[in-house]
């Protein structure tokens, strides 16, 4: 067992000397997560923004329009702020709002007398989703309003919001983060596993096999080092999501433990895959072939909720998808304890298979 610790120390030391690969693989999912967060805004559970209304009409029509944005599901998404057109433009330019609605003077009068009237909406180009929602909602309202012009004078405006993909329990962060995090974990598992090829090529692996130390302990050392790497990345990812995306974490240590254990499992799987290859180049190719589709299916780029249903149900049974679903349960505090048992059993089997495999691989 002492040799396991020595081996872990050796692997960590080497990782510290060459952190570039690792950092690259962390950077990609972080980048995607940050971009997604920026697009959806930092509001957490739901995107939330400010809708500016410059009312030059001061009539009943304008008031109703303004009120419509302040009610129901739209009301949860938008804080409506009255302002002047000029001031509104300034705020928009500074990125303080999602959109500006300019209601022209005489809007109510034109509406009542069925004259054509134009309402101007200015969108914040830096945001994507919220301005879209605002515009869509406004278009619906105006459609409805036009169709009622001839009939009843009392207009009940109703907002139809484009299907909101963030209305999941636990919110937007809880469905986005686990997949993104596991994209990083998967990439890193592949990169760490690739190291056995370097050890084999240099002959270090063969040299280990000529010492009295066991290859089992050698592998345990690798798992200790990998677990530490995955724990640090997992903890950092969760902390960042907690702060930036209002992620709710029911049990932080359990979540980190789950990420580390899943990472080790993926690492062993990737190592088995790579050591089955006939050369280092083939191993790299094989890794890429396997990683990208699995990451895609396993909710790395888009959460399962955003995928077509058949794809999502396949994705949830990919190795990483399975881990992602259970991480989501850990975050929500609803993971059955039996899942830990399943994970432990899977790790043990993978470890035993790897010992047999690495001896053959070394020679």
């Amino acid at each position: 067992m002492r040799f396991a610790w020595i081996s872990a120390w050796k692997d960590l030391l080497r990782l510290r000397r060459e952190p570039v690969t690792l950092l690259t693989w962390i950077a990609i999912p972080s980048f995607i997560a940050v971009v997604t967060t920026l697009v959806f805004g930092p509001g957490g559970a739901q995107p939330h923004g400010t809708l500016l209304i410059a009312d030059n009409d001061h009539g009943i029509g304008a008031t109703m329009l303004g009120n419509a944005f302040g009610q129901g599901s739209l009301g949860k998404m938008f804080t409506v702020e009255k302002t002047s057109a000029q001031e509104g433009r300034r705020k928009l330019d500074q990125g303080e709002a999602s959109a500006l609605l300019v209601i022209p003077a005489g809007f109510t009068a034109s509406f009542v007398s069925s004259k054509p009237v134009a309402i101007q909406m200015v969108r914040n180009p830096a945001q994507r989703i919220l301005p879209e929602i605002a515009e869509e909602a406004l278009a619906t309202m105006l459609d409805r309003a036009s169709s009622m012009q001839a009939g009843a004078p009392l207009i009940q405006l109703e907002a139809t919001v484009i299907p909101d993909k963030t209305e999941q329990p636990g919110g937007f962060a809880a469905i986005l983060l686990p997949g993104a995090l596991f994209m990083g974990v998967f990439f890193i598992a592949g990169a760490l596993a690739a190291d056995v090829w370097r050890e084999r090529t240099s002959g270090a692996l063969r040299r280990v096999a000529t010492t009295p130390a066991s290859l089992g302990a050698f592998l345990v050392g690798k798992l200790i080092a990998s677990a530490l790497v995955f724990s640090v990345i997992g903890a950092a990812g969760l902390l960042a999501a907690q702060r930036l995306m209002n992620l709710r974490v029911a049990n932080f240590p359990a979540a980190v433990l789950w990420i580390a254990a899943s990472g080790c499992g993926l690492y062993l799987a990737m190592m088995l895959l790579q050591s089955a290859a006939s050369s280092e180049r083939v191993a790299t190719l094989l890794t890429n072939f396997v990683t990208l589709p699995l990451v895609m299916l396993g909710g790395g780029f888009f959460p399962f909720e955003w995928m077509p249903r058949p794809l999502a149900s396949i994705g949830q049974w990919t190795p990483n998808g399975w881990c992602v679903m259970r991480l989501r349960a850990v975050l929500a505090g609803t993971l059955e304890p039996s899942a830990y048992g399943v994970m432990a059993a899977l790790l043990a089997v993978a470890w035993l298979a790897s010992i047999r495999n690495i001896r053959r691989f070394a020679c």
């Binding site: 050796k10 080497r14 000397r17 002959g203 270090a204 063969r206 280990v208 009295p212 130390a213």
Partner: protein, 307 residues
Amino acid sequence: MIEVEQLRKQYGDFTAVHDVSFNARAGEIFGLLGPNGAGKTTTIGCISSLLAPTSGRIRVMGHDVVSDGVAARRSIGVVPQEIALYDDLSAHENLAYWGGAQGLRGSKLHDRIREVLELTGLVDRAKEPIKQFSGGMKRRLNFACGIVHEPKVLLLDEPTVGVDPQSRVRLLELVREQARAGTCVLYTTHYMEEAESLCDRLGIIDHGNLIAQGTLKELRSMLGERDVLRLTGAFHPDRVREALASVDGVEIIHADEALLSLAMSDASHRLPLIFGALNGAEVRGTTLTQPSLESLFIKLTGTDLRE
């Protein structure tokens, strides 16, 4: 102590090592001399229990390497043919890792690391990553990692390949020191001179067969203690054969228009006789070589070691 009995190693239908037997004793340097692909590394692989023998038996310090592998490996130090080190670790860290793998720890490990760093002349560069080392320095560290735990049996697989003459002399001296301290050393090489100057006993291996073994003296006597006389110039091979037939105890190893190789005992005293017999031939150069492994190798295998 290494005891190899009827070792055979097959890769599929191909036999890399064919019923090889030899013993190497404590304090002795046993050389395995053979060309590329002869089966030297395979033999060492089987002794270090890296490869499973197809048949035969190997014992190291009395422990069977198959049934009692861990005990056997405890007394073995291996210096592989390739530089089996971690490039991004320093010399010190490499030694700590490989020493640790051999079960060394604490102050014992520390002391040994210092000792072997001094022995191999790497003290000054001990802290930098070895990817900055020259090839020769890496070779020395490769050696150091094999002896850090003071093994009773040391397996050296062509440890001087790619090393400059100065470092080579130093490395060979280190090997001799190990043997003097009582270590049993198995040394593989394809350099004749190295084998001649270093090894107490030798096995000559070719195509997986151990074709001769013994001390240098014993091997020489297999050649009949004869010197080899090489004459260059312009000859008529047929006339030469005729002329030399009358001279007693001279064997023609080779004869063509430009080169004549003759084997005989006590050649220096018989030069006048030879020249007399070759009367008329145009001799431009004469080289006299004492029996060497090279000539033995050629005699045994029919090929030059450095093909």
